[in-house]
Amino acid sequence: MDRPGVAKPEEIPPGASKLVTVDGKEVALFNVEGCLYALGNRCPHRGGPLVRGRLERLPDSGAWAVRCPIHGWLFDLASGKNATGPHAGTPSYPVICRDGEVFVEPPPPG
């Protein structure tokens, strides 16, 4: 990851979220119990900002998910898959902490 960092780890303590921009796209960063996740910020339903969503566990797997604050679609934080039904998901990005910075890697083009 040789692109610039998008945030400092201390800006996203456990339980917090932060909106950053990666290659011109809005990305929502979440810190859940010390693990960082990065998802496309806009819900594919009506464009709700996922960075303002509530974090909760998926009932079947227990994995962490974020609920869109507008109409309630639910997205797996690790994969971006839609857990509400057979609807579109949101992009998920690899995220790492290194040298006191948070890096988000956008998916390869195409």
């Binding site: 464009g47 303002r52 909760e56 609920r67 604050p69 309630g72 509400t84």
Partner: protein, 334 residues
């Protein structure tokens, strides 16, 4: 809220809404139909239906052969939630326009919902929870029963009753409606259901006994307001939903005194959360045109709530015949 301030806000935001016409008008090209429905509600409540006939005819032309509409105007598959919103806008607009093409379109929409109701009374839409989805056709049928012709009303009654019973059975002991899949917190679902589906029965001769459900629903909404005036952690959409619900239910049950502190705090919060033009989904974010339509609708419903006639508020929802007059100050400026 000071009514001069309400008037000024309506004036400025309606001006912005008109400048954005290319983004919501079906006469300007393909559109997101949920946004079109929100825009037509603004047109209706601004008293501009008569001069907007092309918008209504374009909506009728976009209707599918099964009587429904897609989420996008170009989409071929009908969806229940948006179709009910469209049917509602057409029947309400046609109360002013009285156009035969629109009347036929309303009849087709009625048929779509009679054909798609499930045996237990619910309607389904993959993008929305069943309670929320069902509240929309019930709302459409409420208005059919209030404003429609007898030919429309007769087939609607049994389906409407089943749909409303499905919703009433879904109310929790504490007065809220919760959707475990889409809305576990219950805020948006409760605000939608009590105003869109349940309260209309108070005004309909064939209505079900809903007063206790509405009393509990109103108290649930009032109790869930946050200290600064919003609902759901500064969620503009849900705050507008809850405010409109509190306006209609409190006026209909004559609980204005109980609701006024909540309503006034909410209106101040809504006014303060506005961008220079329009409203965002959360304070500080970019303007959403759909949220701007909701904001205008909330102001116009608040205005009706301030009128002396207690039925003026219910008229804004189409549950009582007639038009709600503008306050003189508003009418003079528009």
């Amino acid at each position: 809220m000071d009514l001069d301030r309400v008037t000024a806000l309506i004036e400025s935001e309606y001006g912005f809404f008109q400048r954005e016409r290319a983004r919501w008008s079906l006469t300007a090209g393909p559109q997101d139909m949920e946004l079109v429905a929100h825009a037509l509600r603004v047109i209706l409540h601004m008293g501009k239906a008569e001069e907007s006939l092309p918008e209504y005819l374009a909506l009728a032309a976009a209707q599918h052969p099964d009587g429904g509409w897609g989420r996008e105007s170009a989409e071929k598959e009908s969806a229940a939630w948006v179709s009910a919103f469209m049917g509602l806008m057409l029947i309400r607009g046609n109360a002013v326009l009285k156009h035969p093409v629109i009347e036929q379109s309303v009849l087709k929409a009625v048929r779509y919902f009679l054909d798609s109701q499930k045996p237990d009374g619910r309607w389904k839409d993959a993008e929305w929870g069943d309670l929320d989805t069902t509240s929309h056709p019930v709302s459409f049928f409420n208005v059919v029963l209030a404003l429609g012709t007898e030919a429309m009303k007769a087939p609607v009654r049994p389906a409407w009753r089943k749909g409303l019973r499905f919703i009433l059975q879904g109310q929790s002991e504490d007065g809220g409606w919760y959707d475990p899949v889409f809305h576990p917190s219950g805020v948006e679902t409760t605000a939608h259901l009590v105003q869109d589906a349940v309260i209309a029965s108070l005004f309909l001769p064939e209505g079900l006994p809903v007063r206790p459900a509405c009393e509990k629903g109103l108290r649930w909404i009032l109790n869930h307001q946050e200290a600064e005036g919003s609902w759901d952690e500064k969620n503009v959409d849900h705050t507008m939903d809850c405010t409109r619900s509190a306006l209609l239910i409190s006026r209909s049950l004559r609980h204005e005194v109980l609701a006024r502190p909540t309503v006034e705090k909410a209106m101040d919060w809504i006014a303060a959360s506005k961008n220079e033009n329009g409203w965002p989904d959360f304070p500080g974010l970019e303007t959403s045109l759909e949220r701007t339509c909701d904001g205008l609708d909330t102001l116009l419903k608040y205005q009706a709530w301030c009128l002396k006639d207690p039925l003026a508020t219910a008229r804004r929802w189409g549950y009582v015949t007639g038009e709600t007059a503008f306050l003189p100050a508003v009418e003079a400026k528009l």
